[in-house]
């Protein structure tokens, strides 16, 4: 056996400490003792177990470690005990997840199909929703308004106007809210472009300015100011990539809890 730096008696003490730590942790997880009592118990156990072994400086070190690490001290000491005994290279190196090669485009598409998240090409072109607001059912109209809010295209503007004039209050009110949301959103984007806060290259900037000017939510004066910001060579903006058209995917860290629902009126979640 390799030299671990611990005597046989000290190794027994570490093993005992580990066993008692497991017991203390179990008592805590079972709700039998509070967190404070658990820490106190652990300190007492550490003094009892390590107070009897080793030289005085090692004794102080072990008790101090047990107090600092709490019920994890036994585990940490066990690792210290075992680590020098492990042979080199006995653990296979699987590599960090970051080392994995990125998915190829084909693999990404395959994964999206398997997960049921594939974008359907037949749903790419902006449809004419205007008729829907004349003879469609309420659910379809509400769904169409949700789509307009999340994936607005200037071609949908007549449909939004039709929704604003709907005889159904539920539709009219939701349409007004969508209109206000889009108006504020486009106004903010226009402000960013005019202030130079966009971080876009020339082609993307031209496309963005074109999109803003066609949106119907930017007044003529602002539209003229935006036109002045067009890049010198004025590259004709190509067709927008279908999959990215208006899809506002907001990324939030997976493990971050969402905020509470924002209130727009009395009688909602605060």
């Amino acid at each position: 056996m390799r030299d671990t730096g611990f005597t046989r008696r000290e190794r027994w003490a570490v093993g005992t400490m580990l066993a008692l730590d497991v017991l203390v942790l179990t008592l805590w997880l079972s709700g039998l003792v509070s967190g404070l009592v658990m820490v106190a118990l652990n300190g007492a156990v550490a003094v009892l177990v390590f107070g009897l072994v080793g030289k005085s400086d090692l004794r102080v070190f072990l008790v101090g470690l047990a107090v600092v690490l709490g019920p994890l001290a036994g585990t940490v000491l066990l690792i210290l005990l075992v680590r020098p005994m492990r042979g080199r290279g006995t653990t296979p190196d699987f590599g960090a997840p970051d080392d994995l090669p990125p998915l190829s485009r084909a693999e990404a598409i395959c994964a999206a199909i398997v997960d049921g998240r594939r974008f359907s090409p037949r749903k790419a072109a902006p449809p004419s929703f205007a008729g829907l607001f004349v003879d469609g059912d309420l659910t379809s109209q509400q769904r169409a308004l949700m789509i307009m809010a999340r994936a607005f295209d200037p071609e949908l503007r007549p449909a939004l106007q039709a929704a604003l004039a709907s005889p159904l209050p539920a539709v009219r009110v939701q349409a007004a809210a969508v209109f206000a949301y889009l108006r504020d959103s486009y106004a903010a984007q226009a402000r960013d472009v005019l202030a130079g806060r966009h971080g876009l290259d020339a082609v993307a900037l031209a496309a963005q300015i074109d999109r803003l000017r066609r949106s119907g939510f930017v007044d003529a004066q602002t539209g003229d100011l935006l036109a002045e910001r067009l890049p010198a060579q004025d590259p004709a903006p190509g067709p927008e990539v279908v999959a990215s058209k208006g899809t506002t995917v907001v990324s939030r860290p997976d493990f971050a809890a969402p905020p509470s629902i924002k209130r727009y009126s009395c009688g909602g979640i605060a």
Partner: protein, 501 residues
């Protein structure tokens, strides 16, 4: 020990007494107008962060209880009670997808029945699960994954995880909350407040009423559609018929399910005007339970108001909270238009600005952009009786309202109004169909989201004194005839007596 049973327990969510104005003002009025009844109030809030009360509770409120929908997180226990995750999922889905009121009973039973401990809790006496047992245990995980399979199997699970925790966490928080004994439970919306009232009424074998000023499910739908913090994990493009459920659909379905269960269980469902009942019927409310009780105002408060005629500038006022639903931006855009014809016009935005600081900042930025610093003023909260004499026109630019009190109050003071065509604004300003006697126009109703129309109507009133006087008179007559506080209070009094008998 005898239990102190109040007559009416008001259940309110995200509102009274922590938020000023709107429904809170109305609720304060309602309680004070029923001095012979003893009230308790249960206020639901998002979390348990301390909040300042904006209202002093009336003397006839004998008990106040606050309930946090997301209480401080508890540590999951290995010794917690043994719960049936599959049964929990089945009941949750019955409520979520179908609005089955029996599912609410089953969930209440599950949340409150003492159960024996799990593997590490064999030594424990049977105990009621705590909140962590219900949303952060092995059983909760089972329920969550089963719900995921049923509701949104293609969507992002990590997003679903938090959505489930938020929706179900709030539900279990209210199902486990203590219930003040009362003879009638009166919820001021559907949603969590409505569920609490239904649960409390069933537990106490009492009666339950729901009053909706706006329609909660519709307002939540709008908020959720706009919410930028919700990630869309499915690229659905323009497919209306795409059956895959994403987080927005799940939240909306939950609130609709809640409303169905509440409407099915409530004894009475009131709205402020008839048009709102169509929403309630859509979600299963029976006609026999529906009733309209309009808002009313205290005429005496406004009787002594004399409008100022000698003023340095014409004044237009909007009275309301600075929040998106009031569409303050439309008013600001309208102000720029009005100023072109009436250069010295003064536009006052009167109301609290602290409810949505980001929106208030955006409004201030818009005022600065349009160089309206000398025209538009945010006054903050003011006493309406002090403000009204200064106004020539009251303007309301909301994209959603029920029956706005401010229009009634302005009407009582003889001030003409311009309002968007939302809620019952048209009925108040132009008169309901077949109004007898016909009082005539009290101002103008314009489409929502149309600053030009707002501006045109306001300019018409500002530049024509005779028209303004005529409209002001019509408004006053209509309010005095149809919208008095006494009439409204009597109807609520009758509602309570009917339920208590």
């Amino acid at each position: 020990m005898t239990r102190d049973v109040t007559d009416v327990c008001i259940v309110v969510e995200g509102c009274y007494p922590y938020i000023a104005g709107g429904v809170s003002s109305w609720l304060d009025w309602l309680i004070r107008k029923q001095p012979d009844l003893r009230f308790s109030v249960v206020a639901l809030t998002a979390d348990d962060v301390p909040r300042d009360m904006k209202y002093k509770l009336p003397d006839n409120v004998v008990l106040f209880q606050r309930l946090a929908l997301a209480p401080k997180a508890l540590r999951p226990r290995l010794s917690g009670p043994h719960l049936d995750g599959a049964a929990m999922a089945a009941s949750l889905l019955d409520l979520w997808q179908r609005g089955d009121p029996k599912a609410l009973d089953r969930l209440a039973g599950l949340a409150n029945t003492p159960l024996p401990g799990g593997p590490l809790g064999f030594w424990r006496a049977p105990a009621r699960p705590d909140h962590a047992d219900l949303i952060a245990s092995q059983a909760a995980w089972t329920a969550m994954t089963l719900c995921y399979e049923a509701l949104a199997p293609q969507a992002s699970f990590s997003d679903f995880f938090w959505t489930w925790r938020q929706v179900v966490g709030g539900l279990f928080a209210l199902l486990q909350a203590p219930v003040p004994p009362a003879r009638v439970y009166h919820a001021i919306s559907t949603g969590y407040a409505g569920l609490y009232a239904v649960k409390a009424a069933r537990a106490e074998q009492a009666r339950c009423a729901v009053t909706e000023h706006g329609i909660y499910t519709n307002e939540r739908r709008i908020d959720l559609v706009m919410a930028d913090w919700i990630a869309d994990s499915l690229p659905r493009g323009y497919g209306i018929d795409d059956p895959r459920g994403d987080m927005r659909d799940i939240y909306i379905a939950a609130f609709e399910g809640f409303a169905r269960a509440i409407y099915a269980s409530a004894d009475k469902i009131t709205a402020l005007y008839g048009a709102n009942q169509s929403f309630q019927r859509t979600l299963g409310a029976e006609d026999a339970k529906l009733q309209v009780i309009p808002n009313g105002i205290e005429l005496d408060r406004f009787a002594g108001i004399t409008l100022l005629t000698e003023k340095p500038r014409p004044v237009v006022g909007l009275i309301g909270r600075v929040v998106p639903i009031k569409d303050i931006e439309a008013l600001i855009l309208a102000a720029a238009e009005i100023r072109r014809t009436v250069p010295d016009v003064e536009m006052l935005i009167i109301g609290p600005t602290d409810e949505d600081p980001a929106y208030f900042a955006a409004c201030q930025a818009r005022v600065a952009e349009l160089d309206l610093g000398g025209t538009v003023t945010f006054t903050g909260r003011m006493n309406i009786v002090d403000v009204l004499p200064r106004l020539d026109v009251l303007l309301l630019s909301s994209i959603s309202e029920a029956q706005p009190l401010v229009i009634l109050e302005a009407g009582a003071a003889g001030i003409p109004c311009v309002a968007t065509d939302v809620g019952s604004c048209r009925d108040i300003i132009e008169g309901a169909e077949g109004e007898t006697p016909a009082f005539g126009r009290g101002g103008f109703v314009v489409p929502p989201m149309d600053p030009q129309a707002l501006a045109r109507a306001t300019v018409d009133l500002l530049t024509d004194t005779a028209l303004r006087d005529r409209c002001g008179r019509a408004m006053r007559q209509r309010v005095e005839t149809h919208f008095t506080s006494g009439a409204s209070a009597s109807q609520y009094g009758a509602l309570y007596s009917g339920l208590m008998s």
